[in-house]
């Protein structure tokens, strides 16, 4: 069975304006819309396309977190994943512990490929993919904008600062997704109904033998300093004058 594992993180929706609580204890989460991390949606879309091309047999989505993360797993099942695994944790799980969870699941599921988002848009850590590849002692292809699977290998184009880098990796491996890998499909209503019947298994960190010990403690949250709104100029000549006066151009 050629299987693909996909990570699904429940995060604050990308369109929500984040507010730090006045007492600095966290960000405002009451009544805030939650969603699948956008990079994870891209990861799932890619896994589904690989399956649709006949290069994989099963797509399994995994989420680590609070019980409500099952909402995001149901959405993932509606998009087309075959089954879901929810690893429950009521406390935050740092990337290294998340990687340890995936490593345990890899031992059970024996996937051909693990596809994760390149970063989650809440903590912006960008760590879990490479950490998992390191623990697994397998290749990593981060920031993927193109994945071509062959027999036992994959050719991945990566969005790096210098341009586009292509690497060849042996499978199994970990791939993390960048924005331009694909455009995720919309969920259709009948698929939402069908998703309710798909298997969603629940596990705990203890069952997997992973401890979610926080190594980095957040002591304080603060809002960023705001830039002051500047002035409107009426034309190009006034703009050039203003920049010159400020010493930005000579």
């Amino acid at each position: 069975m050629k299987r693909i594992l996909v990570g699904i993180k429940r995060v604050v929706d990308a369109n929500v304006r984040i507010r730090v609580k006045p007492d600095g204890s966290g960000v405002e989460m009451d009544g805030v819309k939650m969603a699948i991390n956008p990079f994870d949606e891209i990861a799932l879309e890619e896994a589904l396309r690989i399956k649709e091309r006949g290069m994989a047999d099963e797509v399994v989505v995994v989420s680590i977190g609070v019980v409500e993360a099952q909402q995001q797993l149901r959405t993932a099942l509606a998009m087309g994943a075959d089954r879901a695994l929810h690893v429950r944790s009521d406390v935050g799980v740092e990337p290294l512990a998340a990687a340890q969870v995936f490593l345990k699941l890899i031992a059970r599921e024996q996937p051909l490929l693990v596809i994760l988002g390149k970063q989650a848009i809440d903590d912006d850590n960008s760590q879990t993919g490479p950490m998992l590849a390191a623990l697994w002692n397998r290749p990593q292809a981060t920031f993927a904008s193109k994945i071509e699977l062959a027999d036992g290998t994959a050719r991945v184009t990566r969005e790096v600062d210098a341009g586009l880098e292509t690497i060849e990796i042996d499978l199994p491996a970990v791939v993390t997704t960048d924005l331009r890998l694909n455009e995720p499909r919309y969920v259709k209503l009948p698929d939402i109904m069908k998703a309710k019947k798909k298997p969603l298994d629940m596990l705990t960190l203890a069952e997997l033998g992973v401890e979610a010990r926080a190594q980095l403690k957040i002591v304080r949250f603060e809002p960023p300093s705001q830039r002051q709104k500047g002035v409107l100029v009426k034309d190009a000549a006034e703009l050039v004058g203003a920049l010159r006066k400020r010493g930005v151009i000579s």
Binding site: P130, G163, R227, L232
Partner: protein
Amino acid sequence: MNQVLIVAEHDGSTLNSATAKCVTCARGLPDAAITIAVCAVDASRVAAQAAALSGVTRVLKLEHPANAHPLAALLAPQIVAVASEFSHVLGPSTTFGKDLMPRIAALLNCAQASNIMALTDATHLRRPIYAGNALITVESQPGAKLVGTVRTASFEAAGPGGSAAIDAAAVDVALPTHTRFVSLSAGKTDRPDLQSATRVISGGRALGSAANFKILYALADELGAAVGASRAAVDAGYAANDMQVGQTGKIIAPELYIAIGISGAIQHLTGIKDARTIVAINKDAEAPIFEIADFGLVGDLFQIVPELQRLMKKAGA
């Protein structure tokens, strides 16, 4: 004493300025001894540049034929092999560092702090989350090794004036063969590098086509500026992916940033808010970019940009 190891980013001959910014970050630690590790086939040129950075105590050359291209799976075990004596292992928050540092952290079984804005003491640091909409102060465990990526836009590059000792370390760890470099298609190199340029001009979806971006290039050449783009412009195919500025692209801090035809999505503003002076040109007076711009000009970019170019040419700016 804080023993800091910084992993050098380079292209085989030139040290990337992101490394010098990591040095400045490390110097924020009290009593820091800073070592730069250079993984290369022949590390001598890059090592000499690293040794000349002010504040660096030692440079470690890790030379191996497999280091021709920076592949995280190959570099990580080499860094881990020399990391035991260090309290902090840092790299830049560029795609190089984001790819490599977590692999190192996992092999060392230690936590990573990403996008460090300030290292205030051995166990405290600040970093942004939620695309910079919140800043957190993080406490690491005393005595535990910490791996980090340094938010390069938060630091000036360390200047010259150093004369660190250069040592060679033997690479005698087994390197995997499961990851192989195939090719790199680099963008144009005749303009300043986006991440280190002092002036940047970016275009958005309002440019309307890849061909229309040429008016930005003309203005950029007049100013000696690098050219960037919003995510919308990159997604639309008007600009190459390596030009994207924002939360998921490049985070930059130039002296002058000119946003042209960019409305100012929060993800874009995250990438530019450390710029010294921000100029916005947009036909929509309600565009959010005007909320953070020092100078805003409402109007048709296709008239304004060529006019700016003419005015700056006349002035020899």
